[in-house]
Symmetry: D2
Subunit: 106 residues, 4 copies
Amino acid sequence: MGFEEVRDELRAFVAEREWAQFHTGENLAKSIAIEAAELLECFQWRPEGDHARVRGELADVLTYCFLLADRIGASPEELIREKLMITKEKYPIERARGRSTKYDQL
Amino acid sequence: MGFEEVRDELRAFVAEREWAQFHTGENLAKSIAIEAAELLECFQWRPEGDHARVRGELADVLTYCFLLADRIGASPEELIREKLMITKEKYPIERARGRSTKYDQL
Amino acid sequence: MGFEEVRDELRAFVAEREWAQFHTGENLAKSIAIEAAELLECFQWRPEGDHARVRGELADVLTYCFLLADRIGASPEELIREKLMITKEKYPIERARGRSTKYDQL
Amino acid sequence: MGFEEVRDELRAFVAEREWAQFHTGENLAKSIAIEAAELLECFQWRPEGDHARVRGELADVLTYCFLLADRIGASPEELIREKLMITKEKYPIERARGRSTKYDQL
């Protein structure tokens, strides 16, 4: 199963519940931030994380990301690959290797 | 191109830069929350959003989500679909239709 | 200088710029989340934090919190103390001592 | 009651529970981001917000901000006022009046 099948499953899920009306770009962006913080909560007091919860919270962030991508008419795949090309240029292998320094300080 | 090809591209990108050492679960969870807020910033003062920036910021959230999924040995596809089954049960069509109410108040 | 003086300084700052129109509860809540993530960014790749930036980012979160408190007609002081009483009951000293466990699992 | 009294109440609360060990700068920054997202959740699907919950969630963000301020040896009051001076210069009244535009685009 690929990106389009996942998108179609999500579309059907939303359509059946008539939830598209709530899924404005702004509401989806808020939802992504909210779910991202619930994912972070798995690591709030211990760096190793609460494994049992990580899967479910990461799934929630991903789901809202896929919904927003569809809303703006983009595929998650193309978004990731498009950005990866930019990031590769910002962080050339020779200079970025083994360092977590931000590109403007490399 | 499917989920596995995107994962492999990301793996190569990280390996070439020797960045896996920075990609602990905790650091990736922090990064997802940070990028989610940059996405939200596109909608900070206006609900319609700053279109030019939304694509790039959403791409960043997605990228870190894919990296964390890989780190915990899961596919984004399986995570989304697994959670969708749970959400479908929590929000039965008949009761959830046209409402943004949370499941525990439906 | 106390809470009221700080509130009055912030009020004057906002009034002079006619910014109250942008400071809806929702916009302030988004702003708090956005600034909180910039604060978190100081700790993204290193637990000890980027000291030089922490002060400024924490100041931004605090400022928006004070503005939202004023918007809902509350004093930060009373909000903190009111909640502290609730938290004290949720986490009795005997059971909570030396543990980061959430109250519902104590 | 002023800033110092609130700080002292929070210090006593933490000391009695021996929680200072968990309150590293990083953990407090994560906690601020997590609570900020819970505050945002009050506005997730409706701009007017869930009034009943806003007070409590804002209190949580404020509390962790006060704890982090104390941790870095700063007073919330001085942090806010110090930053306000910088922001006033970035946003001169004449140019910023009635506009939500970011300073670098004013």
